[in-house]
Symmetry: C2
Subunit: 328 residues, 2 copies
Amino acid sequence: MAAASPNQQAPTPHVVALTGGVGGAKLALGLSRIMPPEDLRFIVNTGDDFEYLGLNICPDLDTLLYTLSGLSDESRGWGRRDETWNFMSALAALGGDAWFQLGDADLAVHVQRSHRLRLGQSKSEITAWLAQQLGLRCQVLPMSDQPVRTRLRGSDGWLDFQDYFVRQRCEPVIDAIEYVGADIAQPAPGVIDSITSKHCALILLCPSNPWLSIDPILAVPGIRAALRASTAPVVAVSPVINGKAVKGPTVKLMRELGLRPVAGTVATHYADFLDLFLVDPADVDELSPPPCRIEPAQILMRDLADRERLARTVLSACGTAITQTEPG
Amino acid sequence: MAAASPNQQAPTPHVVALTGGVGGAKLALGLSRIMPPEDLRFIVNTGDDFEYLGLNICPDLDTLLYTLSGLSDESRGWGRRDETWNFMSALAALGGDAWFQLGDADLAVHVQRSHRLRLGQSKSEITAWLAQQLGLRCQVLPMSDQPVRTRLRGSDGWLDFQDYFVRQRCEPVIDAIEYVGADIAQPAPGVIDSITSKHCALILLCPSNPWLSIDPILAVPGIRAALRASTAPVVAVSPVINGKAVKGPTVKLMRELGLRPVAGTVATHYADFLDLFLVDPADVDELSPPPCRIEPAQILMRDLADRERLARTVLSACGTAITQTEPG
């Protein structure tokens, strides 16, 4: 075994965060601002990915990349700020299939990704390249390089995720969810190692939709088992506050699936690997008996200060060895 | 043989025009405005077509489609008017390969074409669809549905057309040109029929670059022979006026290929099928002996009125049965 080169630094502890789109990306941004970003590793849902006009679209990966690099449009809640829409206008004028909005600048990412996938690069290679080009120092890992497709069953049959989420605005009543391809997918390179590494100081489940954003990740063989086996604390931030979701169809979906639409249901859902659950103070009493350690916290993130504060709360609550820094 | 249905109209005489990009499209527009556009059939160079960022780009087809539909940017000389460039800016920011400028609205055509090609549609099917969606009533035919690639040999070896034309701005000195794939390409559906039909009243070679825009068309097996065999008059408008090209590298290229950079060289180049050559009055004396009938005409097209006037001159000079109309 070769000796470590003299200028090679000892591995530092790292944080792993599992995240979906907008809600998760808020806390991801907070984390990236209060700790060394090179010690952050994001594992991102790709169950929402789809093909549109022959382009490979990865909504959650892009939301995270844009949020972390300061390119996201905060008020619209998706896509890039200072965006223009001339591609879509021209597409609509051609009578093209224009139900999913792609901004002109956003298209650069989709065209590059699609091109590189066709050239044989993997989704994780392309994601790493995009992160680097956008100036990010953290690791952004798709959950898998193989396709996994979240589908929801409504009264008229199975719906592709974007059909349900965008085209039908989450209106169909859902009675089942599946993650097509998850059973034969593999975790992307780095995913399992990041979770099981002895340098992993903390594993965070961001407040993303458990059924639509986190469960697709957990459905990839090996990831849930790695979470169970990890010696690092696993903490989740509740996506439900006082019986309501901050954004999106979480609570509506819970009702339709016959689940009590409360924070405790989420904690129970993660009970086999969860060490700590951060909930709104209003939800503490309702979690009885608690399926794991719970702590009240201000988990609603209205602005950047909220995101940084919650990120500090997460790190502090776990007593990790992660160095907290001042936002740059 | 079934009798013609009572409400089926008798075929009307039609005009076939071979064209490349900007120069040819000017006369194409003039024609489309002074005769019934449904009696116009364009056969368009696809030797400039290329793949860029995984998108199939057909510059001459798009120049013609945009020009005929009023979408082209006249002052820039290429692309669409009222165009924006946020895709390119974002692509450049990603460090992507941004040497060929694609406007945001223009992208809608490239994305649609690329998507449809991957779905198995042919270039001519897609072109017909685009023409229809853009409200055109004329026929726009690519010369072939198979790939043909114009390449030019400079001092450092063979160059792809767009590398020479756009990236290197026609600066390399060229000693040979080839049309890769032309030998095994087939004329697109409708190309040969349009030329050899007894209803073809006139075949026009637009004032496009003979070596870079018209010769690729003539290199597709069967097209040159069809021009020779056609009973309709074949007329060309000189792309060279008084020893200069209106636009582009025609004269530079002629010199480099060892050809006299005069209109007469173009007439001789087409001599095996050409019936009439329209030249600037200044060039008449130089064409001696003439390789075919020549007529002086105001062939420089500065504005729309020039384009319509030259189109009328072409039709009148051939004494065709085509009905000339007032521009709508």
